[in-house]
Amino acid sequence: MKGTIPMASLSHPYADSLARRAAFSRTLSNALIVTRREVRDSFRDWRIMSPIFLLTLVFPLLANAMTDLFITFFEENGAEPLLPALLPLLPMIVGFFPVSISLVIALETFVGEKERLSLEPLLATPLTNTELYLGKSFAAMLPPLLASYIGIAIYVGGLVFGDTQWRPPLVLVVQILVLTTVQALVMVTGAVVISSQTTSTRAANLLASFIIIPMSMLVILESIIMVQPHRRYVLWFLALGLLVTVALLVRMGARLFNREELLGRSLDQLNLRWIGRTFMQQFRGPQLRRTTPGAWYRTSVMPAVRALARPATVTVLCAATAFAGGWLAADRWPLPLDRVAVDDATLVENLQAWFELGRSNPGLILAAIGQNLRALALATMLGVFTFGVLSLIVVMLPFGLLGYILAQVAAAGLDPLPFLAGIAPHGVVEIPAILLAGAAALRLGSIITHPPAEMPAGEAWVRALADTVKIGIALVLPLIALAGMLEVAVTPRIVELVLAR
């Protein structure tokens, strides 16, 4: 301890160096400073290094021995033809096991640091949120990925340089490397999202099941595809799908990984009262408690509809794509319509019976309404768990089917008017309802990936849920009800008139 505090004599500490660096290289360079520290720290942690060492060096050698055993066993039992189908599972597992540790490291580097309170000094440095996010993501990914590549190299090396009979094809090895990499990306980007929403490693580990369960199912799916050599090309599509998931998770993680979210969140408690209040506030809109239905539509429902501009555009484009896809698919899988000889008189008779049934049984209207509502509710629920992707797919299905059927009709040279008459009267109301509900479900599912600025992701989601329910009650439900009535009471009559021309 001596003298006065040493001063650094920096007149303008960082302005010059910050200005000199280009934005991208600066971001990367800063991120790598964080990465280097984290990786060094990981390498000093025996709890991380022990499994990596075992899975990198010992497990591939065990897998080599297993390969030999399998080959001998299959040969002895005359099942050699099965070997090319089954043996690729081993390098796949050799690659996947070390990568699975990336999840542990990701949870540790994000939540662990938050829990040990070492995050705040880091947040007080000039690092941007993106630099921190990238630096920590790289750090979580690099050691397990490196371990995985080394593990695969040891396994393949053991096969090539050993006396094992099986040599994995190059394309298979590349495929496994690609899958391993995207799986690591999915797990790390998913872990970042989880980390940003929790304050303890325990909570993060509990939430990690949201990653572990889908990843386990994915590995099972990959295994099923892997054992069918002629279908292995599907794995490339799977990798592509995982990359899309990564893009969504990165977008979500980059948005959630910010100082405000990381330090502002101090409890993992579920605040039902707050949720209820926020929901009702958004549902009611800016009006006071007592409001007229007209005012509610004007001040609360319509703004919610306007907020659907982008998801509605995406939904309409996807529906159009599905219609076109259905139309094109008709060429490849044609229906034998030309062999179906149904004369117009029979059709008219059937429709009359349908019409009478509807008139005598109002329950049919309820059934039509119920069916549509069930499908839309299912689409919304699926969308919540898949960033809106599955809700889009559910909405796209009827449009694809419509395109397919109309293409078949056109290809068979049939008069399209009766078919259009069977769709248009209620479709005019039903199709906008489906698109509206689909857009609301897409927004609800995807809003967590890009919540509005200055709003926590949880609040954005609750408000989007209120908007979805509001649109559902105020617009979709009445439209679907009207469509149901038209479908049962009017559409058959129109078709009948068209056929009876």
């Binding site: 003298g3 505090i5 500490p13 960082y14 520290r37 720290d41 705040e120 000094p121 440095t125 330090l263």
Partner: protein, 318 residues
């Protein structure tokens, strides 16, 4: 320099910081005092651009905390309440990591950590992992981290809380050095003696509001009254005490002593001494009864509790 205007932070329905306006000039130490949960840490986090204000604005070292967060953080040194060191690193590695993040030139990056470690008496612990450091050593290292890039503004949360008296004195001297070097310093602390020793100005924060601010003398004058003087005489007062009531506010007296308050000691004390000496009274001592920041602080909090429901925030603090 630090300037804030109506700085406010809400977490949902909870108002953590409520319209704080203050200015801290370079070369000044401003102490923020307040009970736990009063909003001190949230204020510091907003001044470090870690949390964004809900409303109001703040400029730190000339930069806006919302629009120029990177510039702000490059010029602020923060000692956080929890030091959060990386337990598996060594001190030099740790400081080097932060030196890289602050983009210190290479020569300085090599020199500066060693200088600071030596200054804070940590040179002997270079080979130890930080997990082996005592709490006091960890706090000194965290302070070294905050000073690493020689920031223009320092925000220090409980800077000596875990230290032994010798280390605490060393740190206080370091803070005074920085003050002399025209750094702008805010400290938040529960150690009122330390705050009284170090701070040029003091702000008391409660329920997110600054309920009182000023120099110690100003606060003491306002909340516990004018300075209290105690006079001891050799031969007894002999009814003289009542005669002094026309000059000062007499508080209490005994046969050979009395206590009085005066808003203007510089004028009143010499006048009283002249009068007593003129009357032949032999004065033994005349001294000010010590008023501590603790007395002042408790009185401020007590008064604020009294009008909790309709209290207005303290006007801008200069």
């Amino acid at each position: 320099m630090i300037e804030t205007h109506e700085l406010t932070k809400r977490f949902g329905d909870f108002l953590a910081v409520d319209r704080i306006s203050l200015t801290v000039q370079p070369g000044t130490i401003f102490a923020i005092l307040g009970p736990n949960g009063a909003g001190k840490t949230t204020t510091i986090r907003m001044l470090t651009s870690i949390l964004a204000p809900t409303s109001g604005w703040a400029r730190v070292a000339g930069f806006d905390v919302v629009r120029q967060p990177t510039e702000v953080r490059a010029r602020v040194g923060v000692l956080t309440e929890q030091h959060g060191l990386y337990q598996r690193m060594k001190a030099v590695e740790y400081l080097d990591f932060f030196a890289q993040l602050y983009h210190l030139p290479p020569a300085l990056r090599r020199r500066r950590p060693l200088e600071l470690l030596e200054h804070f008496g940590l040179a002997d612990a270079l080979d130890k992992r930080l997990g082996e450091f005592s709490k006091g050593m960890q706090q000194k290292l965290a302070l070294a981290r905050a000073l690493l890039h020689d920031p223009a503004v320092l925000l220090l949360d409980e800077p000596t809380s875990a230290m032994d008296p010798q280390s605490a004195r060393l740190v206080r001297e370091a803070i005074r050095d920085l003050q002399r070097a025209e750094r702008t310093i805010i400290i938040t602390t529960h150690n009122l003696t330390e705050a009284q020793m170090l701070a040029d100005r003091i702000g008391v924060i409660r329920h997110g509001r600054i309920i009182a601010a000023g120099t110690f003398s100003e606060l003491a004058q306002r909340f516990v009254g004018p300075p209290l003087m105690e006079l001891h005489v050799a031969n007894g007062l002999n009814g003289l005490a009542d005669a002094l009531r026309d000059q000062v506010q007499l508080v209490e007296h005994g046969s050979g002593w009395l206590r009085y308050r005066t808003a203007n000691p510089a004028e009143d004390n010499p006048a009283i001494l002249r009068r007593l000496l003129g009357l032949g009274v032999e004065v033994i001592t005349l001294s000010e009864v010590s008023r501590t920041l603790e007395d002042v602080y408790l009185q401020i909090v007590r008064e604020d509790e009294g009008h909790d429901s309709h209290g207005e925030p303290e006007p801008s603090v200069r």
